[in-house]
Amino acid sequence: MKRKIIAVLLTACLSIGLLAGCGNNASETDDSQVKSEPSATTETADTSAAKEPEVTITVLTRYAGSDVQAQWLQTMMEKFSELHPNVTFQDDSVADEAAYNNKLKTAIATGNLPNMWMQYGAASLVEYAKNGLAMDLSSLLEDTEFTLGLADPTLSSYNLSNYGVDGIYALPFAMQPEVIFYNKDLFAQAGIDKVPETMEDLIAAFDKLNAAGITPMGMGAKDTWRLGHFYNCIVYKKAGVENIKKIGSREAKWTDENIVETLEILKSFKDRGAFEENFEGIDWSTENANFLSGKYAMICVPLWFIPTAEASEIADSLDFFQIPYFEDAIEYKDNSAVYTDAHVYNGKLEGYEKEITLEWAKFTHSAYSEEVRLKVCNQLPGRSDINTDGYEMSPLMEKALVLNNELTTYGGDVFEYDEITSMQDVIRNSLVGMMLGTSPEDTARSIQAEIDNNQ
């Protein structure tokens, strides 16, 4: 009898657990704050359902699991299905970068392409565009109502004309400028009363913080993108975005004097005590945790960090400032490192499937979509025409919106302008190698050697 009772209780617990798990669907997000109504630009749901064929849109992104934008994707798929009941979605998204890359590579190698996938950088798109894997989105430029609200209305970030390819093959999404988050209390403790405006100010701040026994900047360089991101900021402010693009188009070299100088600056930051000892073995999660526990005064990270900062225990002490500029390179003051995810669409699609995929592309980059991202995911919107009525924005988010609207010249990761796929690892690893003792000149030579060997 006792056993039976226990069995019944366990079964009940299991059932409740299952129901609770099913009930907590990601798509059931709190989008009550979103004021705009989604709209289909082709036909209404009632009429489309009658004559349009059944279509499955396959989506492969990194908006999954704990990624804050997973909620956005779920909401968008749900809303799009409401507008087009004949459309169902297959969401193959996976958050982990390596797993995502493997999935995408397998899809490309086998020809089983998803309708939409995520892309980092323009140069690696070239092969896809040349081989007809990516859809030419130039027709979207004719829809000025759609493009005018975009942060990049001409879609120039993904213009491949430098690589001999005509057309637009990716839609930029989620622009995230790199900034420096700082701990106001630690700054005050070190006697820094004004945020650094120039690199010279920043170096002076390093000295003051070190004198006060505070680690100036967190740098989890074991995850090589950390140092890579910081270097992007230095190189754009010192040598300009165009000069990096010229390396991609082979008009300039890594061994050029102005580029080597940027490497020297990065190395000098370590020598100046900007980072803690052995930071090359620390990962991003440790860096993040240390910053949020008040161990570091600053970290250099894109604005997607805002929700994390606001959710931390020291949220009131945190703020951010723009990457300082170099007094002797004032002409590049407005050059910034800004990261964009981009969405690419299957170039092999035809007929109605192509039409509805383009519709989905516009829907996910519409003002409504960006409103969902802001209000549901607390993410910086990528359009200027979103409805923010009735939404109380945090001070950090307000400041970020202003910053985003002021951006003029920006570039992504330095390797994004290079067609050679190994450049991401080679550049980032070489930067870490430089911190471990390689000279800036040798670092430049080893990066350039990768290009020369792959010509």
Partner: protein, 310 residues
């Protein structure tokens, strides 16, 4: 039954399934990899393979990362043989002579072998973390040995050695089991008569046990060599070949080239070179050990002759 043993057709029929599996999943991929090492392919369906001749091999010859990976793996093999085998067999001898709690110690020593390599790698990664976050550095600091603290997995002097020693920690148990099994197969009478003749433990180990388990030692050496040459998981989990390629071994470099950079031809060329190196090292090591066998056999025969003449 006897007629089955003589019927070659039946023998072949029984061998066929295993042979087919071996050919399809071992031989053909090896040959394919050899073939692909002369081509380049961007990883896009429909794009044909481009014949590049020996370019992939030439690129590797000029590649500093590949040189470092080869140097690392040779060091790995050397230290692997010098640590995994002696440590494994030393503990096997200790266990052989342990009268009480042999089963308990056997189980305890075998624990690292049961753990998945990923778990072992992560465990040691936490132990070897830099600064005060690492257990080892923390311990050293508490013992007043701050000057020994370092970023174990980023310091060029310690990174590779740490991975090799962690692999030894995780693999030695395997050779404890092999050693113990071999020692248990030695007839008790031989050891007892040696004891009666006045041989101490050291002499019994060196002059009786080692020669009698020589075949197991030979197999263990070959297993260490082949196992280490294809090592991937431990390096990948602990450092991913970093920082800046410092701890790359051929298998991790192959993975990066083929699956991260889409250089499938270069990846295939690395696997072809590694296949050749493995083959050569294994054959050479077996030859050296067989020579030792012959020498000792000749000595033994010579010894018998002398004894008979006397």
């Amino acid at each position: 039954m006897e007629q089955y043993h003589r019927n070659k057709k039946i023998i072949f029929l029984f061998l066929l399934p295993a042979l087919l599996v071996y050919i399809i999943f071992e031989c053909i991929p090896v040959l394919q990899s050899f073939y692909f090492s002369f081509f380049e392919w961007p990883g896009i369906q429909g794009v044909p393979l481009a014949y590049v001749g020996l370019d992939n091999f030439k690129a590797l010859i000029n590649d500093a990362q590949f040189h470092r990976a080869i140097a690392n793996i040779l060091l790995f093999v050397l230290i692997g043989i010098l640590t995994q085998l002696p440590i494994g067999f030393f503990f096997a001898i200790l266990l052989y002579y342990t009268k009480h709690g042999q089963k308990f110690f056997k189980a305890v020593y075998f624990i690292p072998m049961i753990l998945p390599v990923t778990a072992t790698g992560l465990l040691w990664q936490f132990i070897l973390k830099p600064n005060e976050t690492g257990v080892l550095n923390n311990l050293l600091s508490k013992l007043g040995l701050e000057n020994l603290c370092t970023g174990w997995l980023v310091n060029s002097k310690t990174a590779m050695m740490c991975i090799i020693l962690v692999t030894t920690w995780a693999s030695a148990a395997y050779y404890i089991v092999i050693g113990l099994a071999a020692m248990n197969s030695i007839p008790d009478e031989i050891l007892e008569s040696a004891t009666i003749d006045g041989a101490n433990t050291w002499k019994r180990v060196i002059h009786i046990m080692v020669p009698m388990i020589w075949e197991s030692i030979k197999i263990s050496v070959v297993m260490i060599i082949t196992g280490v040459l294809k090592v991937f998981d431990m390096v990948f989990v602990m450092t991913e070949g970093g920082p800046n390629g410092l701890t790359h071994v051929p298998a991790t470099l192959l993975y990066s080239q083929a699956f991260k950079y889409n250089h499938y031809g270069i990846g295939s060329a690395i696997s072809t070179i590694m296949f050749m190196i493995s083959l050569v090292i294994t054959i050479v090591s077996l030859k050296i050990m067989n020579k030792e066998d012959k020498k000792s056999a000749t000595k033994e025969r010579g010894g018998r002759k002398v004894w008979r003449q006397v």
